[in-house]
Structures are given as structure tokens and as C-alpha cells.
Symmetry: C2
Subunit: 341 residues, 2 copies
């Protein structure tokens, strides 16, 4: 009885990932660890965003379809527990598409074109004059996702704040149409962890660029990735003083090494001169190997049982269908389209 | 057995109306009469397009919700038979929204902005800088409607040809992604009947402009509408020769009077001089009263039994759900998103 009451009062958190690739250390540091913690105190839903993945892969859908179960295996491997967290598949929840249709009547094209996140993303892609409609409009689809689960707390990076703003604008407009507070506004949960750089210290992490370490990366790949990591290009001899800022090895040590004092000590020695990159890389590699080995082993077990992964997604998606159909029902009533209800 | 085979081979026709108002004589002449004929030789679906109606009424949804049953009553009143024609409600068919999401990844924003029909419609509305996203993207939603029912014959006015083109582009792109002909292209069935002018001979027919005769218009309203009809402004005295071109009374006589030879004779007399507008209007009024009385009476009966109208829509929508879910299944398979199938 007590548990029941507690469950009802838990705040709802929604996160998700575009299913366009395996998850890597950037995801681990930036969001996965937080989700593992959140699932104990919040009612958490994680959306495998295959539809959103298609918005810039419409002509290459295999990139999405082949990664859905990879992403689920990644979740389970890091400790996301399907007993505590609902893991669901966007394309399996029709209400998300239906809500998108309703909301798209409340958002102008100009408003979408002003969205800073989408603007930046479009600039970073090679769409030319062919921006897919689904890509320009995906903030509406995200608003559908957030509101469909009545999520009020959305863990995001600060580059995603315009998405929260757009969602809340839609919520207010819909509530105005409904003359009732049928949807709830959400707020961001900003990550305190800085974004993890790619191993080359420059570009965005991407498997094809070979500048990231996947949760599934083998021991050899991890070793190779650490050895090629960007450090301080002016730190030529061991005796030379080295720079810690922008040195990817130290950024990763900050993110992954359990002993902060020890890392601090290493930094002082490196800055003075006398500590070689070979040594710092060896320390980092050991630490990453230790972090990733159990994750990789669990992941291998999960990915080898695809039927189980599908079943987890199916159960989560069915639960999500029920939740989102209720919200869709309210929205349809708001528009007076409840003839059959 | 013979009937069964015949049914399977029937070609599929899709038409529909935005549920934003009662249907009027323009609809009757332009499409309703044709649909009554088509239902005997084709497998016909009529979509009550409430979602499309919302694309420019998102903040005024009552205009849509209050007209859904009006439109269904109009259909039944003119002789569309729900035993022969499937009448369904767009918002009750989730696959239409889901297909729209998939297709929107295959159409660029620039392509939508070039659509001549939408461009003209936007120019005719007072959106200013706030074109609703749903309005710009509605050709994608129409493509979803057409393909969801595997419709191959689409009765349209020539202003709607760009919609057919857009649909077939999507069909080809989807089939290319699928590497299989899962969707079928459609072709237009162009109306041979010229567009009926409004009673003032100028603007588009609209209830608020008071320049159209509704299928539900009462005898007095019909009489008033005919009396105020635009004729030949230079035909001042009965003896003067009158112009038939652009004379709305004669256009309506062409459209509604059963005796073509008689109307032809009237035209000759009018052009010569000696036939007054009072007389031609009296002839037209008699003919319209005769046409509309039985329609109005049937309509009154239908609209008084809302439960029956809802039931007709419900049955048609359920049938349409089954059909469209099959197409959605194929499209999801084409994108590799058939984990649970």
C-alpha cells in the first residue's frame, strides 16, 4: 500500500536516444550513468527514437533499424533495469505520431525555422537545399514524446534547451485551445558533467570517424583508441611541462578515474614536466579497461539473446501505448474530436 | 462466388472533404453527384478530413468538430450509400498519422514550399508569417490518405493535380527505399463539370459570405439566394439584349435544369432581348427547389439521428483502420521497423 502511494507520486522523467548507432563513452558520461541513478527515485521512461533517427536517414533506414537492439543492449549493459525503467520504441506507439499531427497545427513553419538547435544541426549536415520535412519538424515530434508520457523532468544538454521551450509553448497553446490544463509543462534537468570530447579532441564523436570508444569496444580497440588520443602537441619530451587543458587524456581521467586526488596529483606533475604521455595513457587505459570490461561482458550476453531484447521493448512499448493513448484522448477531446470516446 | 471475385477486382477510389462546413451546391455539382455514380462501379472510400480541417483551424477547432456529422448527413442526403461506400473519419485512423511521419522523411521542405496548390492557398489566407506547419505539410498527409487505402483513382479538380504528383513522388521514393513495389501510384479523375460559381459571381463560395446555397438551405433561403443572384449588370430593361456568359443564373440552369433544349432556348431569347431576369430566376428557383427539397428532407431525417451517423462513421473507420494498418505494416517493413510483426 505504501509502495503504491509512493509510485504514484514519483515524478516522470523522459530521455531517449536516436537509434542511429551504438552508444559510446560520451553517452555513458553524459546521460547513461545519470539514468541508472534516476531510475531509483523517478518514474523513468527511455524512448528508443527510431522515428527521429529516420528524420535524416529516410533513404538509409538500415542505419536505424540495425541499431535498435544495439541501443537496448547498451542500456541493459550499463545497468538500466527494465523493472525500474520503461524502455519503449517510438515507432511502436501510434499516439506519438497522432499527437505530432495535432501539435503541428499550433506551430508555425517560421517558428521551426528559428529553432536554434535545429538550425545548428542543419548547418552541420549536408542536406543542401533538401532539408527533410521530418527533420525540420522533429521538435514537434519531441513535444509529442514528452507530453505523451506526462514527463515533467527532461535530462538534456544545454544545446537542447530550445526543445524544452518549444514543448512548453505547445503545452500552453494546447491548454489554451482546451481551456483546461490538460498538458503539463516540463523543465530541463541540466547535466552537471561537461560533454566528453572525442579521442581526437576535435570533432563530434562518431563511429565512422574512429574517434570514440563504444560500450562494446574490445580491449584492443580501447588500447588503440587511448594510444592515439590527443594530448598536448607541444609536450614533446617527457621533461617538458605539459598542458592539461584540452588534453583529452586528462579529460577522460577526470571523467573515469575513481581517485580524484590521484588524478589531481598527476596533473600537477604533468604541468611541471617529467610525466610522459605514455604513462598517463597507461593509467587511463587501465581505468577504461576496468570500467568497460564488465559492461562489455554484460552487453555481449544481452545482444546474444535478441528475443529477450525484443520482449523488453514490447512490454515497455505496450505500457507506453496505454499511457500515451490517455493523453491522446485528452488532446482529441480538446479539439472536440471525441465522437467515438 | 462471382460477386466476391468482382469485388476484389474493383478499382479503389478515394475522395474526401475537409470537415469545415456544411456542403453546398458547389460540392453537389463538383463531386457529390459523381460519387453517387462511382459507388456502383468502384470500391469507394470517402474520408471526412477532420485532421486536414484543423491544419488552418488549430485555434478554432469547433469549426471542424461541429461539422463532421453535418458532412456525413450531407453525404447520405444526396444518395451516398454506406453499404456501397466506406465513409470514415481521418482522426479515427492512426495509420494515417503514422504514414505521414514516415513519408515526411522523404519530402524536402523546399518541395513543399514549391507546391503550387499550397502556395495559392497560402496566398489566399491571412496567415501572415505564421503558416501552420500542418498546413504546409498537408500534401504529405494527403499522400498518406491516398496510399493507406491503396486508392488508384482520385477524383479532383485540376487545381489539385499537384497533390497527385506529390503523392506519386512519395510512392516512387518509398518503393525505392523498399526495393519493392509496396505502394501503388494513383491517377486523377478530372471532373468534366465546370466549377460552379458563387451566387455573387465573384468570390469563392462560403457560408459566411452568404453567397452559396447549402444542401440544407430552406425554401426561403433558396428563394432569397436566387433573387440576389448575379446576372448581367447591363441588362437593365426586359427588352434589352442580355449576356449569358458570366450570368450566374444561366450557369446554374446549365448545371441543374433537366431540360437542356429548354435552357438553350431561354438563352437565345435572353440574348435577343425580351426575357427578364425575374423570369429566368423564377425558372431557376423552381428547378432548385425541386432538386433540393428531397435532399433537405432526407438530410433533416439523418441529422436528427446523430447516433446513427456516428455508427456509420465508426463502422467505416474500423474497416479503414484494418486496410490502412496493412499498408502501414508494409511501410514499416520497408524501413526495417517490424520488430514486433
Amino acid at each position: 500500500m505504501h509502495n503504491q502511494i509512493h509510485t504514484i507520486k514519483k515524478e516522470k522523467v523522459l530521455t531517449g536516444d536516436r537509434a542511429t548507432g551504438q552508444l559510446h563513452l560520451g553517452h555513458f558520461v553524459g546521460s547513461l550513468q545519470q539514468r541508472v541513478a534516476l531510475q531509483n527515485d523517478y518514474e523513468q521512461t527511455i524512448l528508443v527514437a527510431d522515428l527521429q533517427g529516420l528524420t535524416d536517414n529516410g533513404h538509409n533506414p538500415h542505419k536505424v533499424s540495425s541499431n535498435i537492439l544495439n541501443v537496448v543492449a547498451d542500456y541493459l549493459a550499463v545497468g538500466i533495469d527494465p523493472q525500474k525503467t520503461t524502455i519503449c520504441l517510438q515507432s511502436a506507439i501510434p499516439a506519438l505520431s497522432e499527437l505530432t499531427m495535432y501539435y503541428s497545427n499550433l506551430v508555425s513553419v517560421a517558428r521551426l525555422q528559428r529553432n536554434p538547435t535545429v538550425k545548428n544541426e542543419i548547418a552541420g549536415k549536408s542536406f543542401g537545399n533538401s532539408i527533410p520535412t521530418g527533420f525540420l519538424t522533429y521538435p514537434i515530434s519531441q513535444a509529442a514524446d514528452i507530453t505523451a508520457f506526462r514527463a515533467t523532468l527532461i535530462p538534456v544538454g544545454d544545446d537542447q534547451l530550445p526543445m524544452i521551450e518549444q514543448t512548453n509553448e505547445i503545452v500552453r497553446k494546447l491548454n489554451h485551445v482546451a481551456q483546461d490544463n490538460i498538458l503539463v509543462e516540463c523543465r530541463p534537468l541540466l547535466s552537471k558533467v561537461p560533454r566528453l570530447p572525442s579521442t581526437d579532441g576535435k570533432s563530434k564523436m562518431s563511429k565512422s570517424m574512429g574517434n570514440c570508444i563504444l560500450l562494446s569496444s574490445g580491449a584492443k580497440d580501447i588500447s588503440k583508441a587511448v594510444k592515439s588520443m590527443y594530448t598536448d602537441p607541444n609536450h614533446l619530451a617527457v621533461e617538458d611541462p605539459g598542458k592539461v587543458e584540452g588534453n583529452v587524456v586528462f579529460t577522460y581521467l577526470d571523467a573515469f578515474h575513481p581517485d580524484l586526488a590521484y588524478v589531481n596529483d598527476l596533473k600537477i606533475r604533468y604541468q611541471k614536466g617529467g610525466l610522459g604521455d605514455g604513462t598517463t595513457k597507461k593509467i587511463l587505459e587501465e581505468c577504461l579497461q576496468e570500467t568497460l570490461m564488465p559492461i562489455r561482458e554484460r552487453r555481449e550476453k544481452f545482444i546474444s539473446d535478441k528475443a529477450q531484447l525484443i520482449e523488453i521493448l514490447r512490454i515497455g512499448s505496450e505500457k507506453s501505448q496505454d499511457e500515451s493513448n490517455q493523453v491522446l484522448g485528452s488532446v482529441k477531446r480538446a479539439f472536440g474530436l471525441n465522437l467515438f470516446q
